[in-house]
């Protein structure tokens, strides 16, 4: 059986799943709109969590938060289910497909066979939609892929029950109740205020302060950690920033796209100019990644290089601080 579901490629998986499920249910909501209303933008440095033998950096809020906040702010109800038993998880999935209901699933990336090898890490917060089943194959709409794909029953079970940090435990979700009409205005304002609050949080590892902390650390890395580790850590920052799904520049461009769309909905000209500013900040993040890559490409340990990119990060942090303080007042 196959549900009449339209696949749209998106930059990021969670926004993409939400946007695609909303479109299936007759609501035109773009990916940046979901990201902005769900307050997806963030910066967080988690030195106590090691991912792939380097500290964790994230440019977005916790998995699941975007959809939850989005749903709450526009008045959509979501049903979420987790399972301890894979058989039950499969039965519930099949039930939904038979009822013509495409569902979102949280899955682990490592066993997604259609991903290129260097993207297959033990990362458990990827999202995709299942929209049907043909014989033993589930029909999969993975938002970051250009086209739809399939997974066998065995393969799907494996990714739904991946283990480790953020284990999905068969997590399945779908919207069950919608408002008559989507009221975006208030939701947009809430989303923006929330993002400003997060980015300006008085916590040394979060938001603008988090970026400054990382800049300080970068200056210390070559001496403290040695060339190899320092280069590895830098690579980790760039990979997280430019990971498939960020839309480029650590989600800054998606956020700028959201501000542009929001300026039209709210008829607020200032938001349009804020969007331009955010694009420029996104470009600075790209420059930072480019210069960081020159260091690890040449396996250089010259502290000049490290100091230079640390300074770049500090400039970005200062700009974002001013930006979010202004943005808070614009809406």
């Amino acid at each position: 059986m196959e549900i009449n579901f339209t696949h749209h490629q998106s930059a990021h998986c969670e926004n993409g799943v939400v946007s695609n499920l909303m479109k299936f249910n007759g609501f035109e909501v773009s990916e940046p709109m979901v990201f902005g209303i769900g307050s997806g933008l963030l910066f967080c440095y988690l030195p106590f969590i090691k991912v792939n033998h380097a500290p964790a950096f994230t440019y977005r809020s916790m998995p699941g938060f975007i959809f939850n906040r989005f749903a709450k702010r526009v008045g959509v109800k979501i049903k979420r289910e987790k399972f301890s038993n894979p058989k039950q998880a499969k039965a519930r999935l099949d039930e939904n497909l038979e009822k013509n209901n495409p569902v979102g699933l949280q899955v682990g990336v490592y066993n997604l066979t259609y991903f290129p090898d260097e993207y297959r890490f033990h990362f458990n917060a990827h999202n995709l939609v299942v929209y049907g089943k043909e014989n033993d194959n589930y029909l999969i709409s993975d938002p970051v892929m250009e086209t739809v794909t399939t997974l066998t029953e065995g393969e799907l079970e494996k990714v739904r029950f991946a283990k480790g940090a953020l284990a999905p435990k068969g997590h399945m979700y779908y919207p069950i109740d919608f408002p008559k009409e989507l009221q975006l205005e208030k939701a947009i304002v809430k989303g923006i205020k929330n993002t400003c609050k997060d980015m300006l949080a008085p916590v040394p590892i979060v938001g603008v302060k988090g970026i400054k902390t990382v800049a300080k650390q970068i200056r210390k890395w070559p001496k403290k950690k040695g060339v190899k580790v320092a280069n590895h850590y830098l690579g980790q920052i760039v990979r997280m920033q430019e990971e498939i799904g960020t839309g480029g520049g650590g989600f800054r461009y998606i956020f700028a796209a959201f501000l542009q769309e929001a300026s039209v909905v709210l008829k607020n000209e200032k938001l349009a100019s804020m969007s331009k500013e955010m694009t420029e900040i996104g470009d600075l993040w790209r420059d930072f990644a480019l210069d960081a890559s020159r260091i690890y490409k040449n396996r250089s340990s010259k502290s000049d290089g490290y100091n230079n990119i640390a300074t770049q990060l500090e400039v970005i942090a200062d700009k974002e601080e001013v930006f979010f303080k202004t943005l808070k007042k614009v809406v």
């Binding site: 970051v144 839309g247 700028a256």
Partner: protein, 135 residues
């Protein structure tokens, strides 16, 4: 980023036949999306990360040969795992898994425990005991 500046560099994405979506502005300053085949700074970072894993695997292999660790550590590295991830997959405490890295302890493991590891790594017990078997 301008739409015309969205990088189209060579990467392994391209050989796997997919492009990723980037957000960029067109000539009128309106946001739009553009597909990208890859960006060199990211490709280098990814290649380095893969190289790092290969080095870890090679090192673990040498350690197994010198009888300094058990094949479990080798297969763990091969599966891009670390101790917390492996412990979570086999459903044991981390300290217990770490003990199983000791060749002496490993030699005494029951076939039931060995099977757990073999299942996670999707190999046979024979392959688990001898890393040169079937590889």
């Amino acid at each position: 980023m301008k739409k015309s500046d969205v990088p189209q560099d060579k990467s392994n994405l391209k050989s796997s036949g997919f492009k990723e979506l980037c957000y960029a502005v067109d000539e009128k300053g309106e946001y739009t999306t553009e597909k990208s085949t890859g960006w060199e700074p990211k490709t280098i970072a990814l290649d380095n990360a893969m190289e790092d894993i290969n080095e870890r695997v090679a090192l673990a292999k040498e350690k197994v040969a010198r009888n300094e660790t058990s094949p479990i550590e080798y297969y763990m590295e091969l599966a891009k795992m670390d101790l917390p991830i492996l412990a979570s997959y086999v459903g044991m405490w981390q300290w217990r898994v770490k003990r199983h890295f000791k060749p002496k302890t490993f030699a005494k493991l029951s076939s039931k425990v060995l099977q757990k590891y073999a299942d996670v790594f999707e190999i046979t017990i024979e392959q688990l005991k001898n890393i040169n078997n079937g590889n």
